[in-house]
Amino acid sequence: MFNRNVENVRLIDTVTSRRASVGTLYLTATHTIFVENETEILTETWVLHSLVFSVEKQASTTTGCPLLVRCKNFQVLQFVIPQERDCHDVHVSLLHLSRPEHYEELYCFSYNANSDREDRRKAWDFINLKAEYSRMGLPNHLWKLTPANHHYKVSDTYPADLYVPKSATPPVIMGSSKFRSRGRFPTLSYYYKENHAAICRSSQPLSGFSARCLEDEQMLEAIVRSNPRSDFMYVVDTRPKLNAMANRAAGKGYENEDNYSNIKFHFVGIENIHVMRNSLQKMLEVSEAHFPSMSYFLEGLESSGWLKHIKAVVDAGVFITKAIAEEGISVLVHCSDGWDRTAQVCSVASVLLDPYYRTLKGLMVLIERDWVSFGHKFSHRNNHLNGDPKEVSPVIDQFLECVWQLSEQFPCAFEYNERFLITIHHHVYSCQYGNFIGNNQKERTELGLQEKTHSLWTYLWKNRTDYINPLYRPDHSQTQGVLRPLTAPYCFKFWGALYNRFDRGIHPRQSVMEYLMAIREETQQLEEQLASHEMKILNVEKQQKKSVNLETNMFDRSPAVWASPPSNSSVGLANTPGDYSGLGGFLKSPYQQKEPENSLLILPWPQELRKPTDPDLSTNGDDQESGIAGLSCLSPPNEESAKDPDSDETAYSAA
């Protein structure tokens, strides 16, 4: 087992570039750990190797050799290591550790491996897709479960259980699958029981310039017929038209309206994974800039194109939602392979259509259905193994962001909060749980993930109080039925809580959500207390009726023990000034050069005021303000750390 530590390493605060803490850097089998040695309280920074996106060794300076570690959860750590050789070693080791070659090396296989096998197995049953389909009302007289893909013999990237129109015969399914990329024939994603319209999904047809397939045409006809109130369906190709046309040259392409009776064809123009990867990269450069001007930020945000792409996905979701809920028309969605854009669009539409997916468990089910079971290539897209960098793309990230954008527009409509989405994002990359390992159901079954790893969903469910949106009102008019979001461009905002997750300075210094969560908890306690008081009063009154002579000392006069009202400590007031002298650039003005007296005025950050006793400045305190202590890479080395998803006692002892 590789094991190494380097002393006198400095960790630079990348937000201010001014603060640095000195400590020891440990590399363990699973984590990079930085232990500060100057503070009274032991402060540690833990980074999971699987979360490391890139490690960059920069040119040595007189103070040492800088090493920049970028993480997939957008944490950026800059270490300065005194000796160049040590830095080189750490660099090489970290590169090696963060890019495993085999699934078996991933963290989930060693995380909490000794727990009871049976418990673990049961935990996986928490999310059950059969139950989800029956919640939708399936199977019924229109849709049936087909055994066609058992043992993954028709499509190795599809799940074993699939729903197809009642009239789709095995030869039709087989024929259609041969006419579709990777055998991904049209099958049901979501059934809207109010009016029998359905969202179906597939990959692109292998139509080339003129090829036809009778079975595929019959398959679509069967979908039309399984919606008794309509006589046509939409086929939505989520790609830009140009891309779809280019695919025809490779013998793929899109449906010709002339060959398929009763379809209306529609392009929605979402860009491919490569465009999205580059767009995110550009946006991250903007969000990482130190003290940028407002113009730099907005121009950068614009030129990254990121919000434009997010809007495109939401727009597509809105189109499908309208078709299903308002027109009652079924929709077939595909892109090229039908596992990226198709997954995004189908799941956004589901969130808009069905309030269930706006609940905690509903979102888990939705991700399990449209992403995990339908073969979104998590391990490729999220860079779990040392693989082709061109396969990496923030596809599910965009889905989570779409949900966030919607929840910003409808603050009372979602049972889960922002932290829930960020936690899922974190674990899509962390490889700590088995849910997102591999690229399809077949691979996951072969890896034995349900036997060897834990499920994220049960962990989230156990801790669900952290993820509840206190504003959620199931009975609110916003919450019921179909969501009809505005998609004007100003409705799309930069998601600072995710992309600047570790730049604590930019987040609101007090959290309404946490305050309300504290209030809610307190309210519950008060209600219980009220009930118990009323009970006592009732008892007393009964007693008094029985015997008026009895004194009131029957009362339990013990002091009330309800929680103290939500104080500043629970909602955290980060109280340090920003860098107000960084803007405006008065040092650069020509006038200053003439009169150098003023150039002294770089306003000092009052370092001497930063006593370690200031709760706002200690790292642990800070982390709680960011509101994501539970999933952060910082974990105190005490007994409670076992609860922390990122800490692992075996890993720590290895250090």
């Binding site: 407002m294 614009e302 461009p489 100003y490 007090q510 309404v512 307190e522 008081h533 920003g578 107000y580």
Partner: protein, 536 residues
């Protein structure tokens, strides 16, 4: 009344009114001296729709043969449409609105006619006077005094009659110092920081001019402020280049050699036309929903509004940092000392002073730092973002202040005693109001025109018990600490509540506010009391 001259057609039947959030409705339109009144026919109990003519920023008419359409663009950014049967009626109504909405005689404005039953003209106009404010701050009585030197507005026409100045400076010195400052606005106290004993002052620029004139009394006055400590900061809200240029027109800045111990910092805050155009561009960008995301972001950037917010907050943060962290006094000024200086000094006080973050405290701050301090409201807020009239002195400095306060409240949602609806109400009232608070350009003008005797004060009205509830922040938890805002771009957001208040987007946010309100006040607090009542 002379208004009748402007009213050619007073009543029109069968007018269709289209406005945000409502279905088009048919009813009777009536033009009065100060209002458009639209009432639904059929006599349902719904209150008639009342629009203050002063609120109308621009009017567009499209008459046709048998009818016409009038689009009214209001200063509160609402856009309404009236479909009027009859071309003549349409033209008459339009011309009445045009002339009545642009009346400029102060004493003809609606606040002089507004007589609500719940207020009396006998009440004190305003919340507090300089003297009362001074009397409450016992800790400054040793070093500072109230000077009545401006009691007849002869020293500075835009200052209030009483100001707070260093104890050691007599009125004679003040008079001389005032001659050396534009508009006679010599340095006066606006905030005293108890912990460090340092102060924030504001003034206008010194009139040093091209040949670097000096004024002994002005230097003495500033010397007295930092007496005993070695350093003070002058935050000049112009770039150093602008300050240099100001010398050519008789203005200038405090040079280091003349003002010992004072260090000068320049921060360029835009005002005047630049700011007004910024608002116009922003509102234009918000008005068009058909943009692509790229175009929207580019227009948002191009408007520079958020850049102005960023600079204002950053400068205020700098001032607050000087006072609280470094323990040095600060003098803020730009050129006239009636716009950006007030913006910076009031934001710095909100950052530092928990008393100014309560509902009453905030209104008191606005009264001292804006109304009494002589922000020329009438000039600045004559027109808003839709007007086609050639701009003169318009500038949304006060709206920028409200936006900055909103940003502070967004970053510290528990620290402010007042709520977003208060800021929105103020943003509306400053352009068109039933109250006299924002009339005129200075205290002197308000006295001359009788505003204080013949109109009601908005701030007092907002503090009435039933209004107070609506404008209080249900999440308020007082903190004694300074609230340091982040000025990083991702921390600053477009104020949807104001700029998009007429879209569904804002509607959802308003609903969410109601849920929060319910959660806290109707669920939590009464329960708390109930438990206390049953317990014992």
């Amino acid at each position: 009344m002379e208004f009748s001259e402007h009213i050619k057609t007073a009543n029109v039947e069968d007018v269709v009114l289209r406005r945000p959030f409502y279905q088009p409705t048919k009813g009777t339109l009536c033009v009065t001296g100060h209002h458009l009144i639209f009432s639904n026919r059929g006599g349902d109990s719904a209150r008639p729709f009342l629009l203050l003519l002063r609120n109308i920023d621009a009017i567009e008419k499209r008459p046709s043969v048998s009818s016409g359409t009038i689009t009214l663009k209001c200063k509160d950014l609402c856009v309404l449409q009236l479909d009027i049967p009859g071309m003549e009626e349409c033209l008459n109504i339009a011309s009445s609105i045009e002339s009545l909405s642009s009346l400029e005689t102060v004493s003809e404005m609606y606040p002089f006619f507004y007589r609500p039953p719940f207020l009396s003209l006998q009440d004190q106009w305003g919340l507090s006077s300089t003297e009362q404010h001074y009397a409450q701050m016992k800790e400054i009585h040793d070093g500072w005094r109230v000077s009545q030197v401006n009691r007849d507005y002869s020293v500075s026409p835009s200052y209030p009659p009483a100001v707070i100045v260093p104890h050691s400076i007599d009125d004679e010195t003040l008079v001389k110092a005032a001659r050396f400052r534009q508009g006679g606005r010599f340095p006066v106290l606006c905030y005293y920081h108890r912990e460090t004993g340092t102060v924030i002052m504001r003034s206008s620029q010194p009139l040093s001019g091209a040949n670097r004139k000096r004024c002994r009394e002005d230097e003495l006055l500033l010397q007295a402020v930092i007496d005993g400590s070695e350093l003070g900061y002058i935050i000049d809200t112009r770039s150093s280049q602008q300050a240099q240029q100001a010398r050519m027109t008789g203005g200038g800045f405090e040079s280091k050699s003349c003002y010992r111990g004072w260090k000068r910092l320049h921060r360029q805050l835009e005002k005047g036309k630049v700011l007004q155009e910024s608002l116009i561009k922003l509102v234009e960008a918000c008005g068009d929903q058909s943009h692509s995301v790229d175009r929207w972001l580019s227009k948002l950037e191009n408007s520079k509004w958020l850049s102005h917010v960023q600079t204002a907050l950053s400068t205020a943060g700098l001032v607050a940092e000087c006072v609280e962290r470094d323990g040095h006094s600060v003098l803020v000024h730009g050129s006239e000392g009636t716009d950006t200086s007030l913006l910076v000094s009031s934001l710095a006080q909100l950052i530092l002073d928990p008393d100014s973050r309560t509902l009453a405290g905030f209104l008191g701050l606005l009264e001292r730092e804006w109304v009494q301090a002589g922000h020329p409201f009438q000039q600045r807020c004559a027109h808003s973002a839709y007007s086609h009239v050639r701009l003169r002195h318009e500038a949304p400095v006060f709206v920028l202040l409200l936006d900055c306060v909103w940003q502070l409240a967004r970053q510290f949602p528990l620290a402010m005693g007042f709520s977003e609806p208060l800021l929105l109400r103020l943003a509306k009232e400053v352009y068109a109001s039933d109250y006299g608070t924002f009339l005129c350009n200075s205290d002197q003008e308000r006295c001359v025109t009788g505003v204080k005797e013949r109109t009601h004060c908005l701030f007092q009205s907002l503090l009435r018990a039933n209004e107070r509830q609506h404008y209080s922040n249900p999440l308020y938890e007082r903190t004694e600490l300074a609230i340091w805002p982040s000025i990083q771009p991702p921390s600053l957001q477009l104020w949807k509540g104001l700029f998009l208040q007429w879209t569904d987007d804002a509607l959802h946010l308003v609903e969410a506010q109601k849920v929060i309100q319910n959660l806290v006040s109707q669920c939590h607090r009464p329960l708390n009391e109930k438990v206390e009542n049953t317990d014992g």
